[in-house]
């Protein structure tokens, strides 16, 4: 068992860390995906997704509770032996690297089409990697503090949506409230991936100072994310007609195009620039998780060197493979599938296994 003391995070930091990971690039497209799947009843799958993700997070906390000083890889080693432990860390490294790569690529694509057309993606990647490295090299505590700061810095953002809604909103769009419940329940599969992000509890639970409040904290994080998702989805539904919303790729941004003040136009561009902060709280923890798992696998070196290596690797990939939206969508679909299996299905089995494991071991020690 390894020692993780000395880098603890408070409950608040833990909440905002998870919330920050959950709310990211997905919010930009979420209203469209909901409208495509269930029309104007998009809030039903969101609430169902929240229930499922909360259940999954509670299961993860239950698993972690039994060995409060170990991460998922340590747990796998205790339960199944060294070999499986190593394999699990390799799988996690692959997952985290795909996720962080996809998310950074997505952010770069948004920046390219809305803000900086004509700047190649590897240069934007380079510009992103400098602050990412500066924040993430200091470990989980600084990352969590950053997430907390960003949350409070960005609290003004909903105001813009209210300004846009003030120009044009139609409550009748939301009715009938319960038009297709069945379809709504079926579409839950596409919302649970929006809540992915609670899985970092597998890695960072040992760092949490107040371990008793871990369950409460993760539920609060999930609920905060649900609030953001609901707010954005319902604002878009009020603003766009049900027949037209599916035509916008990023309704969340397109909606802000109408915001115009006497002294400034094109607010959505400024908004997206600020939105980079929110996007960064998604990929920075994921990149750090990747470095963290790599360090665990080799059991030597420093996480920040692995982080630097992967950032350079990303820049090189961006140089040779120009990112495109369709390619990025394929990547996200891929990681979402893995994520659902790893963090919604697998924890259930792990929990059952740990019950049996402790039963048997308890009997042996008696």
């Amino acid at each position: 068992m390894r020692n993780y003391i000395g880098n603890e995070i408070t409950l608040m930091q833990y909440i905002f860390l998870i919330h920050g990971i959950q709310v990211g690039a997905g919010v930009l497209q979420l209203p469209r995906i909901m409208a495509e799947k269930v029309g104007m009843n998009g809030w039903i799958p969101l609430i169902c997704g929240w229930l499922l993700s909360s259940a999954a997070s509670l299961i993860i906390i239950q698993i972690m509770k039994k060995n409060p000083q170990s991460t998922l890889m340590d747990l796998m080693t205790t339960y199944f032996g060294k070999f499986i432990g190593k394999i699990s860390s390799i799988l996690l490294i692959i997952y985290f690297s795909i996720v962080s790569f996809t998310l950074i690529q997505k952010s770069i694509l948004f920046i390219q089409v809305w803000l900086l057309p004509g700047i190649p993606s590897y240069i934007i990647m380079f510009l992103f990697s400098v602050p990412t490295y500066i924040i993430a090299r200091n470990g989980i505590r600084i990352i969590s503090r950053y997430a907390e700061l960003v949350f409070f810095l960005m609290l003004w953002m909903p105001l813009f949506y209210i300004v846009a809604l003030n120009q044009n909103h139609h409550w009748v769009h939301l009715l009938p409230l319960f038009k297709n419940i069945q379809q709504g329940l079926m579409a839950t599969g596409s919302t649970i991936v929006s809540f992915l992000g609670f899985e970092v509890a597998f890695l960072f639970y040992p760092f949490l100072k107040e371990k008793k409040a871990a369950s409460l904290g993760i539920i609060i994080a999930n609920s905060l994310s649900l609030l953001v998702f609901l707010f954005v989805t319902i604002s878009c539904f009020l603003f766009f007609s049900p027949d037209e919303i599916t035509q916008y790729y990023e309704p969340t941004l397109s909606m802000l195009k109408v915001v115009e003040f006497r002294f400034i136009e094109r607010m959505e561009i400024i908004f997206l620039a600020f939105y980079l902060f929110i996007l960064s709280t998604t990929w920075i923890p994921y990149m750090y998780s990747m470095a963290f798992c790599t360090k665990w696998l080799f059991n030597k070196g420093n996480a920040k060197n692995y982080l630097l290596l992967s950032l350079i690797f990303f820049i090189v990939i961006m140089y040779f493979v120009v990112p495109t939206f369709p390619g990025n969508d394929l990547l996200s679909e891929f990681y979402e599938k893995i994520g659902v299996i790893f963090f919604y299905v697998f924890p259930v089995f792990l929990l059952i296994y740990s019950f049996i494991y402790y039963r048997i071991r308890g009997r042996i020690t008696k």
Binding site: V113, W114, P117, G118, I119, P120, I123, F126, N168, H170, V172, H173, L174, L175, P176, K179, F240, S241, P242, D243, E244, Q247, S254, K257, V258, E260, E265, R266, L308, I312, I315
Partner: protein
């Protein structure tokens, strides 16, 4: 190791600086297309107009007008580029003028599709139907407005405050075009003699020109749409013909606090809308026939009757043409969803068959400063 990282870092910055990207586009090299005008000429060729401001103190013309023939907006931009000194950008467009002749062609909307697709363009330009040659508007120099695009924009924005015309931006037009329970309505300006706002133009579900509304009808339409504005209404009371050029048979009032309730029912195979409207009015001119009325409830009753007559007239007009600028389809979708789903592909026909009743409830706030 550290040296290696620093060296590669510096190398990267060097390559970045030397790479031919991020060439800035200077403001002097951009021509802002403030007005985009599209029309058909006599031989049915598309003509595009634009104006761009000239940033030069003491320049003779404050803005330069361009007119080209092209097949699409994109192509017209290339033509403009080869005529103007800078690269044309529509990211600051203020108004989009569409000729009435072009509106007769149901495919005109596909022309402006590029404005929605491009990330750089704004969705805020007001869209205006132009009756008469567009060149008149482009070449007119208005005295107190330096740029004629601003003049058109402020005509619409200020008239909208009194409810004389609808204010529809590109974003709103997109909604009205694609929502199946709603047909578009845009502002209209006549340029035949003078540049005058004439009211609103209604389009059918495909975007084809359908009918024009005058200012009073636009006002009633906005009320039915539930817009919160300070309306100013001039209702002609048709009792007897007068030869005097100063008409006294006009009931003038300002209406505000317009509240609207729409009840939707489905009875005997047709939709049934009952629209309840309440508002506060300030009377500004009364026709002679009203002067004898002293009791306020009776006065209110008379005004209600006049308004109801006007509303019914307007509703008959739009039902006849199978269009729905009010957006009753939205209510049908919300409250009678099962029935609406059956007819949504041909909502205009269903609306034509449906019963629409308007009842107005006016509260007189003041009779004016003098009796």
């Amino acid at each position: 190791m550290k040296w290696l990282i620093i060296c590669s870092f510096l190398l990267f910055i060097l390559t970045m600086l030397s790479s031919p990207v991020g060439r800035p586009l200077n403001l002097e090299d951009v021509s802002f297309a403030l007005v985009i005008g599209v029309d058909l000429d006599d031989e049915n060729n598309l003509i595009f107009y634009t104006t761009s401001p000239v940033f030069k103190p003491g320049a003779e013309q404050e803005n330069k007008v361009f007119k080209v023939n092209a097949k699409s907006i994109r192509q017209s931009r290339e033509e403009f580029d080869s005529r103007g000194t800078g690269l044309f950008s529509s990211s600051k467009a203020q108004v989009l003028l569409v000729g009435k002749k072009l509106l007769e062609n149901p495919r005109w909307f596909s022309l402006i599709d590029v404005l929605y697709k491009d990330f750089k363009t704004t969705v805020n330009p007001r869209i205006v139907a132009i009756d008469g040659p567009i060149s008149n508007i482009m070449n007119t120099v208005t005295e107190n407005q330096p740029i004629n695009s601003m003049a058109v924009k402020s005509i619409i924005d200020t008239s909208y405050l009194r409810g004389e015309t609808v204010k529809v931006t590109l974003q709103e037009l997109h909604r009205q075009m694609f929502d199946k329970g709603l047909t578009p309505s845009i502002s209209s300006i006549s340029t035949s003699n003078d540049i005058v706002l004439t009211g609103s133009t209604l389009l059918d579900e495909k975007g084809k020109y359908s009918i024009e509304l005058n200012k009073l009808e636009s006002c009633l339409l906005l009320m039915l749409q539930g817009k919160k504005l300070d309306y100013s209404l001039d209702i002609p009371i048709l009792k007897q013909k007068e030869n005097n050029s100063i008409q006294s048979n006009i009931l003038s009032m300002n209406a505000n606090n317009v509240k609207i309730k729409i009840k939707t029912q489905y009875i005997n195979g047709k939709f049934n809308f009952s629209i309840d409207m309440s508002m506060y009015v300030m009377l500004t001119a009364l026709p002679p026939s009203y002067e004898s009325i002293t009791s306020i409830p009776k006065l209110e009753g008379n005004i209600n009757k006049e308004l109801q007559l006007q509303f019914e007239h307007l509703i008959k007009k739009i039902q006849k043409r199978k269009i729905d600028p009010i957006g009753l389809g939205l209510y049908a979708r919300a409250y009678q969803n099962n029935e609406y789903e059956k007819v949504k592909s041909d909502w205009g026909e269903a609306l034509k068959k449906s019963d629409i009743k308007v009842s107005v409830n006016v509260k007189v706030k003041t009779m004016g400063a003098v009796k």
